[in-house]
Subunit: 245 residues, 2 copies
DNA sequence: CGAGTTCTTGACTCGCCTCAATTTGAGTGG
DNA sequence: CCACTCAAATTGAGGCGAGTCAAGAACTCG
């Protein structure tokens, strides 16, 4: 019962800014609101490994990630880094009610942003309930993902973690990329170096590397180069990670 | 800049259901909306260690926790349990757009719920933008907490984790309980057994126990019984956990 | 092609887990 | 009120998985 998540709506409002309706902020919005959003949007290119915003900085814009991959990171008082989320193309970045960011955002690859200045965006949000609702939907989705991640970090072995992350990445690559969806094999380029993978998984770079070789040995993955990965079967990889979703 | 989180609003709309304005769903809502909510609310008492809802079950209500403590849990395919969040008095529980729960909720102590049936609640939500906004605020808060937890599980030692959890619990106890706020020392009753603490922290019960004795030895805490904890200084305990917030 | 970075691999250490034995504490009935 | 019982917590001994330190191989880019 209850309102059902609308997954398969007709791609009617497919504008330039919204190519993947179920991920982006703009999906399903009325055309007049889309126009208002387009009126305030600004483009911004952030090269790989540069900050988009830093922990503690004042919030002055939100953004849709038009292309690229972005890491959200936090740091222990002891200085250890932890990636708390990976944001992929079309996802909405940095929304908060607070006036200061509680984490940092770093471009993992070159990131192309559609940036909405905070104040006019909030005015639109107050004016259009459908925008507020969309933000809520996306936030709840982020919350779900974060809790899944929590389970991973709390209870899984290093081998399961690496398999799990690769399985997630493979699925994203299959969705976003124009892959023949009938085919089972997925090939993609890792957006992260070994040390960054380690920061995602709460491991060290060496442990990540060892588990990559182990997955290779077990036939779960193949490496073209150290960044180019071939996954023969996502289902098999997901099983190795002991995932359910 | 941007809209500031309203923390110190006058406690004007203090109804029976809303004693802690900044945590609950009802805080700051107009009186007509509060009346509509009160019209659909139902009470429910759940004894300790019983499920409030289970992972995979259909969503049929949301609830404010009127008193008690609730664990939100997930389980690995391998069967290991992980607590992904602790909900305290006045917090809002189980909201989602989906029609099935993605995790379980278990009463840690006897839990008194104010339960809102899903369908009428969603109608009110569609009708009153302020309710939707409030849900968004709370969801973003949950997201922040979850990401802090992620950092803890990914990067902290067992000792830091136990200290961190106790420091969080002590702060909650000080807020909720009628403690002399001038006084530094906090005393509270643990809502969780050792095994449950372990499920929160991604550790084993033995490791939790060892670290409790260590904290005791270091003078960071005192135990009256195994469930009654005295924290001489939350600040010191927080420092041991290497927390920043 | 060469220089610097990134990745892999090895040897060793340490922290947390596992298994097991007490100890403590709460509840019950004599 | 005090033994008895059972569950929960503590403590110990030993093993294993992930971290640390270090060397060498493989990429990347000028």
């Amino acid at each position: 019962m209850c309102i059902r998540k609308e997954c398969s709506q007709p791609p009617s409002t497919k504008s330039e800014t919204c190519r993947f309706p179920d991920r982006g902020i703009c999906s399903g919005l009325a055309t007049d609101l889309l126009e208002r959003l387009n009126a305030i949007v600004r483009r911004r290119i952030v090269p790989a490994d540069q900050y988009i915003f830093k922990h503690g900085e004042e919030v002055n814009s939100f953004a849709t990630l038009a292309s690229g991959v972005v890491k959200l990171t936090k740091t222990t008082a002891a200085g250890e880094r932890q990636v708390i989320a990976l944001m992929y193309s079309q996802e909405f970045l940095g929304y908060t009610f607070g006036d200061h960011h509680h984490f940092s955002a770093v471009a993992a690859t070159t990131a192309e942003l559609r940036s909405y200045p905070c104040q006019p965006f909030r005015r639109l949000q107050a004016q259009f309930p459908q925008l507020e609702r969309r933000i809520l939907e996306l936030s709840l989705r982020d919350l779900d993902i974060c809790r899944e991640w929590t389970l991973m970090l709390g209870r899984k072995s290093s081998h399961e973690r690496v398999a799990g992350l690769f399985s997630i990445m493979a699925r994203r690559a299959r969705e976003s990329g124009s892959m023949p969806s009938g085919h089972n094999e997925v090939q993609f380029r890792l957006p992260l170096a070994r040390a960054e993978l380690a920061d995602c998984l709460g491991l060290t770079l060496e442990t990540v590397s060892r588990n990559i070789t182990r997955l290779k040995r077990e036939g779960m993955i193949e490496l073209r180069t150290s960044r180019e990965i071939i996954v023969p079967s996502i289902a098999l990889l997901g099983a190795a990670a002991k995932m359910d979703s």
